[in-house]
Amino acid sequence: MNYFILTLFDIILVLTMLWLAWYLLNTEDIFKAVVLFISFGLLMALAWVRMRAPDVALAEAALGAGLTGPLFLSALRRMNRTRKGERRLDSDENRGKDPKTGPKQE
């Protein structure tokens, strides 16, 4: 009985993950992709649990959802700022120069 239900659980989990992964790779909106990636990390941790690897699941939950997610979100903000043509704080070429006359970034 338990085996049957767990198999059903696996099938739904795998189908949801495939669906998620398809949209994640297919979407044009980067922010949407990041949120889908965070959700995918959470489901991947569940999948590792079902594969009887709780230690990998712990690492996946901590790294995939907890660390890469915020990292991507921060990177997204920085990317937007660069795209808008503002001076990037981390580029050494512009430091000390007037941002308007300095070399333009593309």
């Binding site: 959470l42 712990l58 907890g66 997204l76």
Partner: protein, 95 residues
């Protein structure tokens, strides 16, 4: 091992799958992020139930990590991504 808990976990799984629609549709960025939070809470519940259903109490620790880190993503989103995005230009993809 008890199959009842596995059934409960199985019932909660569609709740996660349905939340996907809000990520795909959500008009604002915050709606999408809220769904990630829903995934976190539902994931905690599923892990707790599976831990009893599969007979592996280690899953409690994973649920603990879930509970802590799902909030971290939301807070990074509010502080770093969302705050600065729409005041200065409106053609931004994040709104």
């Amino acid at each position: 091992m008890s199959w009842m808990h596995t059934v409960f976990a199985l019932i909660l799984l569609p709740a996660i799958a349905t939340g996907m629609f809000r990520i795909l549709k959500g008009p604002t960025a915050a709606d999408r992020m809220m769904t990630a939070q829903l995934f976190g809470t539902c994931g905690v519940a599923i892990l707790l139930l599976l831990g009893t259903g599969m007979g592996t109490p280690v899953l409690l620790d994973i649920a603990l990590v879930f509970a802590l880190l799902a909030a971290l993503a939301t807070m990074t989103f509010v502080r770093r991504t969302w705050q600065y995005s729409s005041k200065r230009n409106h053609g931004n993809p994040i709104q």
